[in-house]
């Protein structure tokens, strides 16, 4: 599944990032790597961005839906 489909409050692990050097390098810059765990904090209204937290650093990042669709994740059991 993609991050776009992850539900609020769930923890997911990044499996794969859609190809594209630019996308990969922006995610690297934000601190989101393959294998990292993400906590889905919430959604903005009007089909807006998704807010995720990288639990290891506490950093919060907002991703637009288009971006979230390009991030493949798997659920992590708590």
């Amino acid at each position: 599944m993609t991050l776009e489909q992850a539900s609020k409050g769930s923890r997911v692990r990044v499996l794969k990032r859609a190809s594209g050097h630019r996308f990969a390098s922006s995610l690297d810059g934000m601190g989101i790597h393959v294998g990292d765990e993400l906590l889905v904090v919430g959604y903005a209204p009007f089909h807006g961005p998704i807010l995720v937290e990288i639990p290891s650093s506490g950093v919060r990042v907002a991703l637009g839906r288009g971006m979230a669709e390009k991030l493949h994740v798997e659920p992590v059991e708590a």
């Binding site: 794969k16 904090v41 919430g42 903005a44 807006g48 961005p49």
Partner: protein
């Protein structure tokens, strides 16, 4: 290596770091009232420089745009990289947000590979401490092979020693220890280095190892240079990259960055101890409301409402105080303006000065203060998050909301503010919509004519109509402006209690933009207007505009000159109208329909000359023309509808 030096042999110190790491704050602490900073990722796009003195030694400091990496993917990254490769910097100060050290280290490692003598400013140590991150500075120094200076830039701590350590480094340059990757990567790098044509790295201005690593990472700019130098070599390097990717079963474009991530994590674990603090932080609780899909909208609404409330209340108060002396001065000047050319020009000049300080500044200052406060507290990115979805529907970006709100104060700094948007398309689109936003000059008209004569509800209606029109225009324009719309990928910074000084500095910086970019144009336009009036162009102008004013819009003939001059001086539209009608009792000579039609026309039509000049500078002649045509078209349509349907 002998590096070229900028002016008068002063050592050049370049600041680089990730957006929102406190780089500009550090620069400001050193440079005084010069650079713009914000708690908004990516506030610097072109770079700022300033001369500073630290411990009696002088240096030139360059504040480069914040970048997440040195890949040449966006404008900011390119500016930073080109500057560092140009060899103009004697020392590079990498500014790192210690509270997100793990991810900041990756950029630090990339910078180390560029072969510029370097000092690390370990910033926001207080925030790191609060998060339970304890950094072993001595060990970090040893691992990186460069001086590490702990700083808390926002309180001025450590900033002088950063410069002084950097100047020591300029005197006795040395290079740090670039990261060593795992064996496969290192072997591949060696293979590429063996075949690298001589002179390639020197031409780029970087060490050979940097060039080899960039080729492995997939850097289009370096690939092109290498391909031009030796196509055979480039093909070899690309094959090696593919081989490495297959070996590790990783996508080609992330092979090296994954290795770097591993090195960075390893380094982070070696130098930092993390003691997780209490589970639910204040930020989490605040975000639970501020970024809640429903409650958050309420917060955004309240934030915007209080912004305008403060702007109007203080603006009204300030305007009254400031304009009084100008009004008495003009009372003396006005009767003489018809006597001679000089008096006419003088009156124009005083009116121009008065318009800036008496009408625009009083509303602009409180608005800028509120915006700067929201920005430094960390609310703006959250507001952008809340409205991104809605703004996407009209082709805009969550971040566009900032310039649009600034537009209510003055369109000029608002258009300059579109620089925070990433793609040219987003910048152009937002710049075209800003002139539709009624700035303080037009607000004066709406308040004095619509709110006072027709009722406050009508004034609210004008604002609501304005937003609807801007949304529809955005929707239509977004299908016309080509280029990609940046998807949102935005750091949401922690909340901060900003020192008042830092907020005021930002207000000053943006006000300075108005004073330098808009005010002189207003004054010149006002002098020209004084002359035209003296020459007696009014009647002629009214006659020329008669088909438009009387014929199409059903307004009194006398307002023609008001509309023409309003292009030069929008904030004078109201006074001009009083002059043209020969009374300030507008309701006595104009019908409600005419008042509404006139006000709508003024609200929408041609941006003032200062705005047009700014548009030309920021997005070019063509788009400035489109904007002017768009505004005029909408103004005509709106005023015409009022005439027909009232």
């Amino acid at each position: 290596m002998d590096r070229a030096r900028e002016d008068a042999g002063l050592p050049v110190i370049a600041l680089a770091g990730q957006p929102n790491c406190g780089k500009s704050t550090l620069f400001n602490a050193l440079a005084g009232f010069k650079a713009d900073t914000g708690n908004f990722p990516g506030s610097t796009v072109s770079y700022t420089s300033s001369e500073v003195v630290a411990d009696g030694r002088r240096a030139r400091i360059i504040d480069l745009p914040g970048t997440y990496s040195i890949s040449p993917h966006d404008a900011a990254e390119r500016v930073t990289r080109d500057y560092l490769l140009s060899g103009k910097a004697d020392v590079l100060v990498a500014v790192v947000d210690a509270s997100v050290l793990a991810r900041s280290i990756e950029l630090t490692l990339q910078l180390l590979e560029m072969g510029v003598p370097m000092v690390l400013a370990l910033n926001m140590l207080d925030e790191a401490e609060r998060k339970g991150i304890d950094v072993d500075v001595a060990r970090l120094e040893k691992r990186l092979g460069i001086p590490v200076v702990p700083t808390i830039a926002i309180r001025g701590k450590g900033v002088v020693s950063v410069v002084s350590r950097a100047l020591d480094m300029a005197d006795r340059p040395s290079l740090g220890t670039p990261p060593i990757y795992d064996r496969d990567v290192e072997e591949t790098v060696r293979g590429i280095l063996d075949r690298m044509p001589g002179g390639l790295a020197d031409g780029i201005g970087a060490p050979e190892r940097f060039v080899a690593l960039r080729l492995l990472e997939g850097d289009p700019v370096i690939e092109e240079v290498a391909g031009n130098a030796d196509p055979e070599f480039l093909r070899f390097a690309l094959d090696e990259r593919k081989r490495l990717a297959v070996l590790h079963d990783w996508p080609e474009e992330t092979t090296l960055s994954s290795h770097r991530h591993a090195v960075a994590m390893d380094l982070f674990e070696a130098v930092a101890r993390v003691v997780p603090r209490r589970k639910m932080t204040l930020r989490d609780r605040l975000d639970g409301v501020v970024m809640h899909p429903v409650l958050g909208l309420g917060v955004a609404g309240a934030a915007i409402a209080s912004l305008f409330l403060v702007a109007f209340l203080f603006g009204d108060l300030l305007a009254g105080v400031v304009s009084a002396p100008f009004e008495s001065l003009l009372e003396v000047l006005s009767p003489r303006a018809s006597e001679s050319f000089i008096w006419a020009m003088l009156r124009g000049f005083v009116e121009g000065v008065a318009g800036g300080v008496g009408i625009v500044l009083p509303y602009l200052l409180p608005l800028l203060f509120m915006m700067s406060l929201y920005e430094d507290v960390g609310y703006l990115p959250r507001a952008a998050y809340m409205v991104d979805g809605a703004l996407h529907r009209i082709g805009l970006h969550g971040k566009s909301v900032i310039p649009l709100i600034l537009g209510y104060g003055c369109n000029v700094p608002a258009i300059m503010g579109t620089r925070i948007l990433e793609t040219p398309r987003d910048r152009i689109l937002t710049s075209l919509l800003v002139p539709l936003i009624p700035c303080s000059a037009r607000t004066v008209v709406i308040l004095a004519l619509v709110a006072a004569l027709l009722g406050p509800l009508y004034a609210l209606g004008v604002y609501a109509l304005n937003i609807v029109v801007a949304a529809v225009a955005g929707r239509i324009l977004s299908s016309m402006v080509k280029g990609s719309q940046a998807g949102l990928l935005m750091d949401v910074p922690p909340y901060r209690v900003p020192p008042l000084r830092s907020v005021l500095k930002k207000v000053w910086f943006r006000t300075y933009e108005f004073l330098v970019a808009a005010w002189p144009i207003l004054i010149v336009a006002s002098v020209i207007m004084g002359i035209l009036e003296y020459v007696g162009i009014n009647n002629w102008m009214n006659a020329v505009l008669r088909p438009l004013t009387v014929g199409l819009l059903g307004l009194p003939e006398a307002v023609g000159v008001t509309l023409f001059f309003g292009v030069l001086r929008k904030e004078l539209s109201l006074i001009l109208l009083f002059q043209a009608l020969g009374t300030d009792d507008v309701a006595a000579v104009m019908s409600p329909a005419q008042i509404l039609g006139f006000s709508l026309f003024v609200t929408f039509y041609v941006p003032c000359v200062a705005t047009i000049a700014t548009l030309v500078r920021e997005v070019g002649w063509r788009w400035a023309g489109v904007s002017t045509a768009l505004n005029t078209g909408i103004a005509l349509a709106a005023a015409f509808f009022v005439r027909v349907f009232w």
